[in-house]
């Protein structure tokens, strides 16, 4: 299982990462090197095994906790927006969104 430069370009786009050409090349080599050790994993027979999302599910049934429907968060806009790169009239500014 070997990735191609096209795969790297596709994933970089999916992940919204701009890669320089040398970076892309290096990324390709390193990720392919990594997938070399993944082969052993592919070969394991896992028929009938349930995937494990929460580790403690190995010994107990884990279900999602539900909280009461109460609106208790105060308006903390200024505090929450303190580190925002661009804010105007309470709105986060971004380059125009084309829909």
């Amino acid at each position: 299982m070997s990735l191609t430069p096209q795969d790297i370009a596709r994933i970089a786009n999916l992940a919204r990462l701009e890669l320089q050409p040398e970076e892309s090349d290096r990324m390709l080599t390193q990720i392919n090197g990594f997938f070399g050790i993944v082969q052993a994993m592919q070969a394991v027979d896992t028929t009938g095994i349930e995937p494990m999302a929460h580790p403690v599910a190995a010994i107990q049934d884990i279900t999602l906790r539900l909280r009461p429907d109460v609106a208790s968060e105060p308006n903390q806009r200024d505090l929450n927006q303190k580190s925002a790169p661009a804010v105007e009239r309470g709105l986060f500014l971004v380059p125009k969104v084309i829909e």
């Binding site: 919204r16 999602l64 906790r65 539900l66 909280r67 009461p68 429907d69 109460v70 609106a71 208790s72 968060e73 308006n75 903390q76 806009r77 929450n80 927006q81 105007e88 009239r89 309470g90 709105l91 986060f92 500014l93 971004v94 380059p95 125009k96 969104v97 084309i98 829909e99």
Partner: protein
Amino acid sequence: MSKLVQGYEVVIGFETHAQLSTKSKIFSRASVAFGAEPNTQACAVDMALPGTLPVMNIGAVERAIEFGLAINAHIAERSIFARKNYFYPDLPKGYQISQFEIPVVQGGEVSFFLEEGQETVRKTVRLERAHLEEDAGKSLHEDFIGQSGIDLNRAGTPLLEIVTQPDMRSSDEAVAYAKELHKIVTWIGICDGNMQEGSFRCDANVSVRKPGGELGTRREIKNLNSSKCAGRLTRSKTATRSNKPPCCSTPTRARPAPCAPKKTPPTTATFLTRTCPRW
């Protein structure tokens, strides 16, 4: 027996996003009240600040179950939440928490009466599923030159996405279904049904085929915000090669691949999928 339009059978499926009438958001304790000043109802969790985590609102789950019971659906004892990953400014985490493989409500049906000529006919639309998910924020374009303003008040509002089988065969049926669904969700009290405020949003999937033949290319109409709109739209779709811009409203719920307006060649009945200013 389906009505044929120019020899073609019209096949319509509906996807409705109903905002659930909880007091707080699906994964945070911020209020969902409509009309607040921008970002005053977006807490740290809604803004996806580093280190924040979702905690599920029981009110959303209860309302989903109530809907499932109302339409005679199967309620999954165990359903799973998944992340839909994509980048959009009104999607603060870079993913939407939704349900993919095992939704909370499966199957079910909605029935209504329709005048067909002189007769009153009972129609039933089967539902494929209804699942819980979180709403995205809003993008505002009008006041900013070359930029958009993002308001995350709506981000995290609980939604029930209700998906039908492609059981409808005319725009009248589609409208009747939408009206009936609207009645159900408002009557059982899980949604306030206020379309102006975006509490009840419908998307229609339309395609055409020769009777007995395969379904043709599917086109999606987004954000039908009133039944008048829904009717006009599905009618214009099945009418001819009209390239009249459809009516729909803003803002759009963010979609995985937001695209620029597309013109499609008038070979099959098609139309544009884009948002236009509110009319």
